[in-house]
Amino acid sequence: MRARLKAFGAFWYDFIIGDDWTVAAGIVIALIITGVVATTTTPAWWIVPAAIAVLLPLSLWRATRHA
């Protein structure tokens, strides 16, 4: 039973998070910052695109540096 639950959790983790959890964590942080900045008069739309611009090459660099 425990092994099945573990396999179930591992499936959903792989399905949603994938190979690099730092990308998902980075996106969550970027959305939190966007939400906070959006309550002020400062534009907040650029934070997520900036996070994508940093997270994607960083994740790929980590995946390929030992290849």
Binding site: D19, L31, T34, A38, A63
Partner: protein, 257 residues
């Protein structure tokens, strides 16, 4: 959001998944037996329909702001996964998805497995193989159809795109009875990754209270910008790979599922 963009994104995503499922179903049907294989396909499709019936109305009752944060965030993470994988394949760090090789592997495995009867299913191996293929590949399709469709209030259009892709691939599969090796899966995966990332970012930012300059028109800049950025990364990784010693460069390249 343009209906055309939604249709293309869902259609391409479903096309990729349908090609992958068809390869396994064909391998099972041609080497084992068609009756159990088709029963597996039917049960897989029925499970997906139940999932849509249960999850569809559940998602639609969530308030739009929460839906956009949750679903937009998930789409964004999901899209970046697809983009990451297609960039690794395009730059040579990960092998391209080779349907012919996967078909050969599945055929070899299917031939060596013993035949076992369970209830109405005369070949349990063929049944489970095709059931798993349809359910697992279809799960991504269901996720994309529901998230895209609900956010854009166009679930029927998203579902129509998915059905069109599945019918097209299944039809070709029935006619050729061979793996669909000529489908440019990686290119399609890149395009879908770009669209999921762009729409996910757009909805998630709106969901947490941000507003885009130009409102919906921002997507017309966001999606091409992500595509251009992805292509630049591919160029950078290809150069990096070429500058590495030959023995290192071949690491990690093989047939991928």
């Amino acid at each position: 959001m343009g209906g055309t963009a939604l249709f293309i994104a869902v259609f391409l995503a479903c096309l990729v998944e349908a090609v992958e499922a068809t390869t396994i179903v064909l391998a099972s049907g041609t080497t084992r037996e068609w009756r159990s294989t088709l029963m597996g396909v039917g049960c897989g499709l029925a499970s997906l329909v139940v999932l849509v019936i249960v999850l569809g109305p559940a998602i639609s009752v969530i308030p739009l702001a929460y839906l956009r944060v949750g679903v937009g965030g998930l789409l964004l993470v999901f899209g970046l996964q697809w983009l990451r994988k297609s960039i690794l394949r395009a730059s040579g760090y990960k092998a391209l998805h080779d349907e012919a090789a996967i078909y050969a592997t599945q055929v070899a495995a299917a031939r060596s497995a013993s035949k076992q009867r369970r209830g109405a299913v005369s070949d349990w191996y063929a049944f489970t193989l095709s059931f798993k293929a349809v359910l697992l590949e279809g799960l991504e399709v269901v996720f994309i159809v529901l998230t895209f469709g609900t956010n854009a209030h166009r679930v029927p259009l998203a579902a129509a795109a998915a059905v069109a892709a599945v019918v097209l691939v299944a039809g070709i599969g029935v006619v050729v009875r061979a793996p669909l090796a000529r489908v440019p899966e990686n290119g399609m995966k890149f395009v879908v990754g770009v669209m999921l990332t762009a729409f996910g970012a757009f909805w998630a930012v709106e969901g947490v209270g941000g507003s885009w300059p130009g409102a919906d028109a921002a997507l017309l800049v966001l999606a091409p910008a992500i595509a251009a950025y992805g292509l630049l990364i591919i160029v950078w990784l290809r150069r990096q790979r070429q500058s590495q010693p030959a023995t290192d460069g071949t690491a990690g390249v093989g047939v991928t599922p």
